[in-house]
Structures are given as structure tokens and as C-alpha cells.
């Protein structure tokens, strides 16, 4: 059906694997970040157990967004996207191929970071490990597509990096990781309802801290899945070959 998406995905995998430094960073950076956070929580046992799920969701969104956003932007600025759009490949295949290729690395990153957090940093959790991963995967798919979509509005890497404070930071502030959502004023609580990270943090916390199942967090999961599908459809429909917007 979408064999050309597979061709594009395999090309992306080859690209990243041949770029050793990038591959190394993909693996090392999340470990370093989690270790730093862990080191900053030494005196308060149990706090990290509560914060960790929110951090895992946030890092998934952040890394998924960054990885895909920057590399998709490069496709635009190098002209390879335009070259591809002059070929028989459909826009949907391009977006699917990108999603698939980067999903593999994002998944690798998530596996490392979740396992490292649980086993190396000894963070206590309830719920099933596989359910944690399934939930993270849904968060990742949304993050990757968000990266592709947002890259359309940046003309260069410099601008793309500036979208991080614009797109990611508000979500971090409003997702309940810093302050409980219930303590914020009504307007902020209302805004938070429209941000995917809010649901990602809520769901991860429910699974890891309260031992709920995927079924119990079905609403969060559905919102995140709808976001992932919605943003990929919008991305495929609005995909343009040139940069800038």
C-alpha cells in the first residue's frame, strides 16, 4: 500500500545510523538529562517517583518534536523535500515515511529513558511496563508529527529552535509538572485542556503512580491519539516543498 513510505523510512534510518555522532547523542542525551534531574532530588525520597512519569512524557514530547522538526526542516532547506515532491511519491507517503523512520529512534530513546529511570535510578512505579510503553508511543507519534508540522513555519534551524519556547515550554508550565493544575487560575486551566502534554502527563501519572491500566486512562489516550492523527492529516494536506510561511 504505502511501500514508498517504507523506502523513505529506511533511507532516514540509514542516514541516522551513518551519522554516528547524532546516533550517539540520541542515546546519551536522555540518560544525561534524567541523571541530572535525579541528582537534583537527593533529599526527598518519593518525590521523583511522583515527578518521573511527568518527566518521561515531557521528554518524549520534547525530543520527538526536536528530532523530527530539525531534520524535516533540513529536508526543506537542502531541497531534498522539493526533489521528492517532484517524484511519484505522495505527500501522505512522505509524512508516513518520516513518521516511521523517526519513530524508530524516538522509540529507542523512550525505551532507554524509561528503563534507565526505572532500573538505574530506581524509580518506583505501579502499572504494567508494556502499558507505559504503549502510552509513550502514542505521545511520541503526536510529538513527531508536531515537529514536521511546525517545521513548515521556520525558514532555518535558528527559527526552528525558537519554536521550542513557543510550542513546548507553555505545555510544560501548564501540564501540571511544576504546579498542580487545580491550583492555577481558571483561564490557565482552560488553556491546559487544549494542550496534548496535559493529557500525556495525566495519563502517565495515572499508570505509573496510581497503577491504572490503559483502559482506565482511555480518555487521555483517545485525546492523544486524536491529536496525533489530526496533526498528521493537517501536515500531509499542507505539506509544501519550499521553506518559510
Amino acid at each position: 500500500m504505502h511501500s514508498q513510505a517504507l523506502i523513505i523510512a529506511s533511507r532516514i534510518i540509514k542516514q541516522v545510523v551513518r551519522d554516528r555522532r547524532t546516533l550517539g547523542l540520541i542515546i546519551v542525551v536522555p540518560i544525561v538529562v534524567m541523571t541530572l534531574i535525579w541528582l537534583s532530588f537527593p533529599e526527598l525520597p518519593g518525590t521523583l517517583d511522583y515527578i518521573a512519569p511527568a518527566l518521561l512524557a515531557t521528554l518524549a514530547l520534547f525530543f520527538g518534536f526536536l528530532l523530527t522538526g530539525i531534520s524535516f526542516l533540513r529536508e526543506r532547506s537542502q531541497g531534498t523535500l522539493e526533489r521528492l515532491m517532484a517524484s511519484p511519491v505522495s505527500r501522505l507517503d512522505i509524512v508516513l515515511g518520516y513518521l516511521l523512520g523517526f519513530f524508530l529512534f524516538a522509540l529507542l530513546q523512550t525505551l532507554i529513558i524509561v528503563l534507565f529511570t526505572i532500573y538505574a535510578l530506581d524509580v518506583q512505579y505501579k502499572g504494567d511496563l508494556w502499558q507505559i510503553f504503549v502510552f509513550q508511543i502514542i505521545v511520541l507519534i503526536g510529538a513527531i508529527n508536531l515537529g514536521i508540522f511546525i517545521s513548515a513555519f521556520a525558514r532555518n534551524e535558528f527559527q526552528m529552535v525558537q519554536f521550542i519556547p513557543l510550542i513546548i515550554l507553555p505545555q510544560v508550565f501548564l501540564c501540571g509538572i511544576l504546579w498542580p493544575l487545580e491550583q492555577m487560575n481558571d483561564v490557565l486551566q482552560w488553556i491546559a485542556k487544549f494542550l496534548p502534554l496535559t493529557y500525556a502527563v495525566e495519563g502517565m501519572r495515572d499508570i505509573m503512580v496510581y497503577g491504572k491500566s490503559l483502559l482506565d486512562v482511555g480518555f487521555d489516550l483517545a485525546v492523544l491519539a486524536a491529536f496525533a492523527v489530526g496533526i498528521s492529516v493537517i501536515t500531509a494536506l499542507t505539506l509544501r516543498h519550499s521553506s518559510g510561511g
Binding site: S3, Q4, I7, R11, K14, Q15, V16, R18, D19, Q78, G79, T80, E82, R83, L84, M85, A86, S87, P88, V89, S90, H241
Partner: protein
């Protein structure tokens, strides 16, 4: 109609030649533009262009930077849509459905820097050809050999010079043996020896029935083309064989450069 269908399958140049014979006309049209205009915002980049390019020839789009050559090529490969008039390639409106019949070499080599030469060419072969391993690797080898980079096939693109990148880019454009090639300034950055090689290869492709449309701003390339279109400020100021254009100046021994200037002045007088 059946004949036409067969002809549209790439990698079947003989079919195209047969088609040309059956078609009865001396030559089939590869490209046709009728009163085509294109705007970037309010800026008119292509101004009412009309021309026909018969199949199996090398056709040069000549003109200074900003003449609209690249925009025209991007219209022809289906990346842009004209705002006025119509355009057709091989009898059809340029779209994703015509893409497999077309080889496109953009002005800026659009390659994946992390990948090797052969990985780049193979990627485009996979995109354009039905995934037939043996056939595909043969065509990849042929294309890479043709641009003289087989010995360095496993080198990453980062290590290559500008001219070598141009050659890889050409290999990517021709790997699926398309009947119609659009090359946007393919000879920029090439040394004279390679330039000659390129043109020899283009002539060989023409003999197989392949139509090649080349944009350039050097008159050196122009001399190799069967027909030329002189472009300036988005307009077509003259069109014909290199000889026709030289003779139009009325001067003995006029060069193509002279011819270009002659048509520019004539246009300015209007």
C-alpha cells in the same frame, strides 16, 4: 490508445520510437506550453510563454539569472502550477502521475549528505522503479558509472566537491531511464572534460528517443542543443536552432552570444 499506454512506461525507449513512427507525424511533442504565465505574488515571473518541444532532442533554455528558467522547469516537473495558460508534458498535465516519466535534476544538488553516492542513487531508484532488486542494482550501477563515480561509490556526499555532487545529482535524475529529462544548469561547476562527457552522454540519450531540456546561462552549452529558447525577464525572446538564431542576426560568423544580444536589442526597441 493501447500503443500510447505502452509508450508511457519508462525504460521502454524503443516503444517511444515506435510510437513516434505510428503517430505519423515526423515528431511527437515532449513539451507544450500555451500562453503560460506565472506570478510570485504580484511579480510576473513567466510572461505569456508559448512553445513546443519535439521528442528526442536536446532543448536549451538560455538566459541570464532571473530570466525565469528555473520557474519554467519547476512548472514542467509539476512542482508549481501555472496561473494562466496551460502546460503539458508528453501530452499530459504535469502531476504526480507524470512524475515517473520525468527525470529532474534541480539547480542545487539535492542529496542526502549522510548517505554514500550509491545509497543516494539507490534511494531514487527505489522511489521511481518497482522494487525489483536485480534490475534496480544494475540500473544504479549503470548510472553511477556513467557519471564516472563508481570507484568512489561508497564515499559520503560530504566528502565530494561541488562538481561531483552535480554528477551524483545527474545520476539520481537518470537512474530510472525516463523518456524526458529536465536538467537545471547541469554543467555549472563542471570542468571542461566532464562537460564534454556530459554532452556526449546527452547526445546518446537523444538517439534513444529521450528528450532533454536543459537550462543554462552559458552559450557554450547552447551550441550543443538542437533547439534553443532565449529567455529574458520571463519572456521568450527568440526560439529556433542555433544556426537559425545566429543567421537571424544577418552577420556572417555571428556567435550565439551575438545572437542573444541581437534579440535583446530587438526586444528593447519594441
Amino acid at each position: 490508445m493501447l500503443v500510447l499506454r505502452f509508450c508511457l512506461i519508462p525504460n521502454h525507449f524503443p516503444c517511444i520510437i515506435i510510437y513516434n513512427m505510428i503517430g505519423g507525424e515526423s515528431q511527437q511533442l515532449a513539451v507544450e506550453a500555451k500562453n503560460t504565465s506565472f506570478f510570485y505574488g504580484k511579480l510576473k515571473v513567466l510572461d505569456n510563454l508559448s512553445f513546443r518541444i519535439p521528442a528526442g532532442i536536446s532543448y536549451g533554455l538560455l538566459g541570464p539569472n532571473g530570466a525565469g528558467k528555473t520557474t519554467l522547469i519547476r512548472l514542467l516537473v509539476g512542482l508549481l502550477t501555472s496561473h494562466q495558460g496551460s502546460i503539458s508534458v508528453l501530452g499530459r498535465v504535469p502531476s504526480r502521475q507524470t512524475a515517473h516519466l520525468i527525470g529532474y535534476m534541480p539547480q542545487q544538488p539535492s542529496l542526502y549528505n549522510e548517505l554514500s553516492i550509491v545509497q543516494n542513487v539507490d534511494f531514487f531508484a527505489r522511489i521511481y522503479l518497482k522494487d525489483n532488486g536485480n534490475e534496480r542494482s544494475k540500473q544504479v550501477e549503470e548510472a553511477v558509472k556513467l557519471v564516472g563515480l563508481w570507484e568512489r561509490r561508497n564515499d559520503g556526499i560530504m566528502k565530494l566537491s561541488g562538481g561531483m555532487k552535480q554528477r551524483v545529482s545527474l545520476a539520481c535524475a537518470i537512474v530510472h531511464n525516463p523518456p524526458l529529462l529536465f536538467l537545471d544548469e547541469p554543467t555549472v561547476g563542471l570542468d571542461p572534460e566532464l562537460r564534454v562527457n556530459f554532452w556526449e552522454h546527452f547526445a546518446g540519450l537523444n538517439k534513444k528517443g529521450v528528450t532533454i531540456i536543459i537550462s543554462s546561462h552559458t552559450m557554450d552549452d547552447a551550441a550543443h542543443c538542437d533547439r534553443l529558447a532565449f529567455m529574458r525577464n520571463g519572456q521568450l525572446i527568440a526560439e529556433g536552432t542555433p544556426n537559425d538564431l545566429r543567421q537571424a542576426t544577418g552577420k556572417l560568423g555571428a556567435s550565439l552570444e551575438d545572437a542573444f544580444l541581437y534579440f535583446v536589442r530587438r526586444e528593447e526597441k519594441k
